[in-house]
């Protein structure tokens, strides 16, 4: 071989020379310290956006869905786009937590808490749309199998009902998963905080956790099982979201690749969102030693892989649409790439397929600013993906006489922007009051946590990797 390569050892999960005490302090002090001024500013802005959301919803309830840009034939607009977009973002949290846990990827510990919180708030934002789009929001309980005055039941053969079960199950399980992870850390804050009210509040939610190894034993088992349950759950939720489209016979929606394609897209946008948030938070809260550049690089690889998978699905869709020989399929895919919404299609393609390709370069993968920009671009692209899927197929359907162009109204935009208010209001509360990194788990993956890394006298001996000198001109052995 003419070219030689340098071996790069696996980087440490925690940078710098920290012991357990430092880690505890670094993370939980954020909750114990007085609130910084900047936080109030951010919280104020988020609250204003939240008011915008509440106002938009209020007007919607008062006036009806006519305030949105929906028309015939485009009966599904921004509401479903935003729903799918937020749910998709909500998938990275559980994915990072559960799948990476099952695959024993230690690097998840730096970001899992964070990502799970993001999941919960993103699913809350998502859940708003199906609830408000029904028009008569006061009978929204008809979505659930509850006895009602019509003596009717919801249709269990309908993917829209599957959605109700999928999203609510996902929200509940994610919340439980998050909370189980939080309990030991809440106990840590309880034991460190000085204020009486704080002690009380954290104490109640810590449930009297005292770090007993008899408890840890069941706890680890529980966490393992939850991870095992959450992994297929993540797949199922976005699969069911894709079924909303794919079980229909609308060209461009009815295609069998939708389930894995939606899941890949969800992971893709979710990781991008975690990256955006992580890059800001690690800077502001000085957690660069915990959320390291190596973590960012690993996440960028996931973004690259899933982005490419999404690209694979785009190509497959185009190919099979042609291969199928079905004229409506062929037509709709031609309209996507060259019709009235071609601009959206190519924004989607550029953002989702081309932009992550920069991450083939190690240099760019490790560049914080660049990663931040790409992570935003990816989320824009993923919003457009849902836009393209929803709108193109509806606007030019089977009957040319009813074709129409769809544009959103100011209320569509206001509702969407408002959901950011909801998201950031909760997210800021999370940053302020809850440990944003899983302290106990992070300690558990540090080399100091492994009993094997101590010598006979109880002194810590860090594990060393020595790269061997290659044998020269030796063919045997």
């Amino acid at each position: 071989m003419s070219k030689t390569y340098e071996y790069v050892p696996e980087p440490a999960l925690v940078k710098g020379n920290h012991d357990f005490k430092d880690i505890t302090a670094m993370i939980t002090d954020i909750n114990i310290r007085p609130t910084p001024k900047g936080w109030y500013v951010a919280f104020g802005i988020a609250n204003m956006l939240l008011l915008l959301l509440l106002g938009s919803i209020g007007y919607l309830v008062w006036e009806g869905t006519g305030i949105w840009g929906l028309n015939s034939p485009v009966g599904w607009g921004w509401a479903i786009i935003n729903f799918v977009w937020w749910v998709g973002i909500g998938h990275a949290g559980t994915l990072i937590s559960a799948i990476l846990f099952l695959f024993r990827q230690g690097w998840r510990t730096a970001i899992n808490r964070f990502a799970e919180a993001m999941t919960i708030f993103a699913v809350m934002c998502a859940g708003i749309f199906p609830a408000i789009h029904v028009g008569r929001i006061w009978v929204v309980y008809w979505m659930f199998p509850l006895p009602n005055q019509m003596l009717m039941w919801p249709n269990f053969n309908s993917p829209l009902l599957w959605d109700v079960f999928a999203v609510s199950t996902y929200f509940t399980v994610s919340l439980l998963f998050w909370y189980v992870g939080l309990v030991p850390d809440l106990a840590t804050v309880r034991d460190r905080i000085k204020s009486k009210i704080g002690k009380m509040a954290y104490g109640v939610f810590a449930l009297g956790w005292r770090g007993s190894n008899r408890h840890w034993w069941n706890y680890e088992k529980s966490y393992m099982i939850l991870a095992g349950l959450a992994t297929p759950l993540v797949l199922s939720v976005h699969t069911i979201v894709s079924f909303d489209f794919a079980v229909s016979i609308i060209p461009g929606w009815h295609t069998t690749i939708f389930p894995p394609y939606f899941v890949a897209g969800a992971v893709f946008s979710g990781f991008a969102m975690v990256l955006s948030l992580m890059i800001i938070c690690r800077k502001i809260y000085g957690l660069e030693d915990i959320m390291t550049i190596d973590h960012m690089e690993k996440m960028n690889i996931v973004v690259l892989v899933t982005g490419t998978m999404v690209g694979f699905a785009y190509i497959m869709e185009q190919f099979i649409a042609w291969y199928s020989g079905v004229e409506y399929e062929k037509f709709i895919f031609m309209m996507r790439a060259a019709g009235p919404y071609a601009w959206a299609y190519w924004i989607m393609f550029a953002c989702n397929v081309f932009s992550p390709q920069f991450f083939w370069s190690k240099k760019l993968r490790r560049n914080v600013t660049f990663t931040f920009i790409i992570s935003i671009i990816v989320n824009i692209g993923m919003w457009f993906e849902r836009f393209v899927i929803t709108v193109t197929s509806l606007s030019t359907d089977f009957l040319p006489s009813s074709w129409g162009y769809y544009s959103p109204t100011i209320w569509d935009v206001a509702t969407y922007v408002g959901t950011f208010g909801l998201f950031f209001t909760f997210f800021l509360l999370f940053l302020r009051f809850l440990p944003m990194v899983a302290v106990a788990e992070l300690k558990g993956v540090m080399p100091q946590a492994d009993p094997h890394n101590y010598d006979e006298d109880g002194e810590f001996v860090p594990p060393k990797v020595e790269v061997p000198e290659p044998y020269k001109n030796q063919t045997n052995q």
Partner: protein, 399 residues
Amino acid sequence: MASTSPKITDSLQFPDNLDVTKTFYGFGAVGLIASGVGYFLNAEQFFFSYLTSFAFFTSIGLASLILLMIHHITRSSWGVVIRRIPEAFASNLWIWSIFIIPILLGMHSLYHWTHADYVAQDPILAGKTAYLNTPFFVIRQFIYFGIWGFLGYKLHKISVDMDKTNDWGLMELLKKLSAPGILIFAITIAFASFDWLMSLDPHWFSTMFGIYYFAMSFQALFPILILIIFWMHKKGILENTIQKSHIYDLGAWFFGFTIFYAYIAFSQFLLIYYANIPEETLWFYHRLEGSWAYVSYSLIICRFAIPFIVLLNRDTKHNHKVLISVSILVIAMHIIELYWIVMPTLHHHGVSISWLDFTTLIGLGGIFMGLFFQRLKKHKLVPVNDPNLPDSLHKTYHQ
């Protein structure tokens, strides 16, 4: 590690007195000759049986290849001790490519779209001729096997080179090869599955079919690895190196990808069943007709339900007898599922088993396994200089 790093205590050389290669080649030769005779008796049946067997063994090579690439890209340590097995499978893909030739020769029997008169009457098929035509089909096979053969050969070669040179830098090279490799692999396996299997019914289409073929193959790889390891242990090979925890891990992957397979297969079925569009539904309709229906139901039970329930329990992954039985069951179901995909094209109204189904399986299987053992024998049974080897030997999980 402060504690002494674990050492390999087993012999790393495949025992000389164990001459399985010849036995397998013998079986292979007999099987192929018998199938050759079958060709003259019933050419059409021969080609369909051959295609089924070919799709089965190729899928194992391909699944090994993707497993290796995933392994390198994630730098996993769990599988280092068993890595030579998939490496040996994947490294033979370039030799294996000669076995596509009978399919190329039998295209006219296998694929309707090769009949010009038939295509001329059918506007839908006529629209597909840009893709479904004989020269392009042949060229594509060269491209697929060129890519797979290169990747498989290279990944094995670099890995054995590391045994000799102890140059850890080669780990980076493996990674650099695997990253684009996965991407190219995904595209090629999808189109290969369209070519070999989906175009048997040229009207039918499913965007997910490539993923479906991958999911099937990947699920079946783990039981194969498990069986090979048990066989090796029985012969006293790597008894202390491949430990309980590694087999447990394989069992866990087996379990996980059983669920993944079910998810993909079910999604494909549900979407087609629910929408009920004639051009799509027909494919499943044929497979729920006559005795094919029993095969369809047995797939749900034997390929998903039984392995799922059995492997759900942690203890069964340590119970060798149970693990072996489930492994054999799933491998058999993989063959049956491929049979179920291929054969209804020939036997519309019901299952009709031919002796050629067995001879082609034995023939190709003998050659495939013979090649495998020949490759495995030549090199050390464990990548001895892998940086992650100590970690892999160290595994003791309590979960």
